[in-house]
Symmetry: C2
Subunit: 221 residues, 2 copies
Amino acid sequence: MKKLFGVGTGPGDKEYLTLKAVKAMENADVIFAPNNNGKNMALDTAKDFIEEKKIVLIDFPMGKVKKKDYKKAAELIKKEISDGKSGVFLTIGDPMIYSTFIYLMENIEELGVEVEVVPGITSFLAGAAKIKIPITVKGDRFLLVDDIVDEDVLAETDSICILKTTKNKEDVINLLEKNRFSYTYIKRCSLEGEKVLKNKEEILEDKDYISFILGRRKEND
Amino acid sequence: MKKLFGVGTGPGDKEYLTLKAVKAMENADVIFAPNNNGKNMALDTAKDFIEEKKIVLIDFPMGKVKKKDYKKAAELIKKEISDGKSGVFLTIGDPMIYSTFIYLMENIEELGVEVEVVPGITSFLAGAAKIKIPITVKGDRFLLVDDIVDEDVLAETDSICILKTTKNKEDVINLLEKNRFSYTYIKRCSLEGEKVLKNKEEILEDKDYISFILGRRKEND
């Protein structure tokens, strides 16, 4: 039986890898990683553990991947792992949260390859640990989104993470302020160049794609 | 300088520990863990890595902890670690998600002890990996709650985790069904006796406290 592990590599610091992720990589015959226009965060994170391994890069140009690309990728992966062998597909963060691996998983299971998912530390967990501001205390609701939310939704939550902010950053911050949320912008979390910003002007000036906002309803509201 | 690491041990399987968590434990002079009426999941998870360490159990009877208990615990911890030494406080899941450590952190920082938080794999991440059902795909909203939600809130989300279901399990499931969510009940995730249930009757029969529900809006809705 062929087996593919979908391994979450976390936000970037290799110390956020789990023991299970390291074990899956060490036991794998082939390591697969998405190739996003030459950028490869997941592979960078894992590199110390896969030095002796065969590495196969799969083109997944961010924002431009089509259904047939996943099918092609699944066929390529199946071809690379023989029966009784195992492969690891590396993906940043966690494989079940806004990940390329989700679509790939469906395609590869259809080809009769067994899949096991190894969870990873998400950026919002690493970010909250960094700034030491709780995500949830008893009774709280936490909302995770990849884009802007409207006011009705925000009204129902105590805590929020907005993962992609490059397009609507000012709108997001204005909405948080209007609804009395405190907020923190975390850039390149756990990577070189990591920055924690709380000042609105500084946040708006930053253009880094690898960034997110954690927000929390101010107390006594 | 004294330093306390708040370390998330994940859902229970020791393989979900991160390399950072293992390193913090190995470098620590004292290991602290909550003692919840003799139960000690965090310590069970970590036991292979702290065999030679001094272990101090702190009484935190679940649901009955008062403000002064955290203050007392913080004072005890400060007393146990001398300057230049470090301690680790073990907590299940992630330290910033519904955790005892959050309140402890505030008290211990007030006493002048430096705190570093080491994130952990949450139960909902491990659960989604187990059942291989995505938490979020592009455009999705994910809501995390520790109790029942009302219909208005559910209407705004695509995906949900309800962490504590022992009190209102039937209400939660009825609400999910009414709003066309598929759902999975995961009991003792990553622990001995782990069970994945999708049948309503079976879910209602189960009384295990260590369980949660993952829900997802059915497609084409």
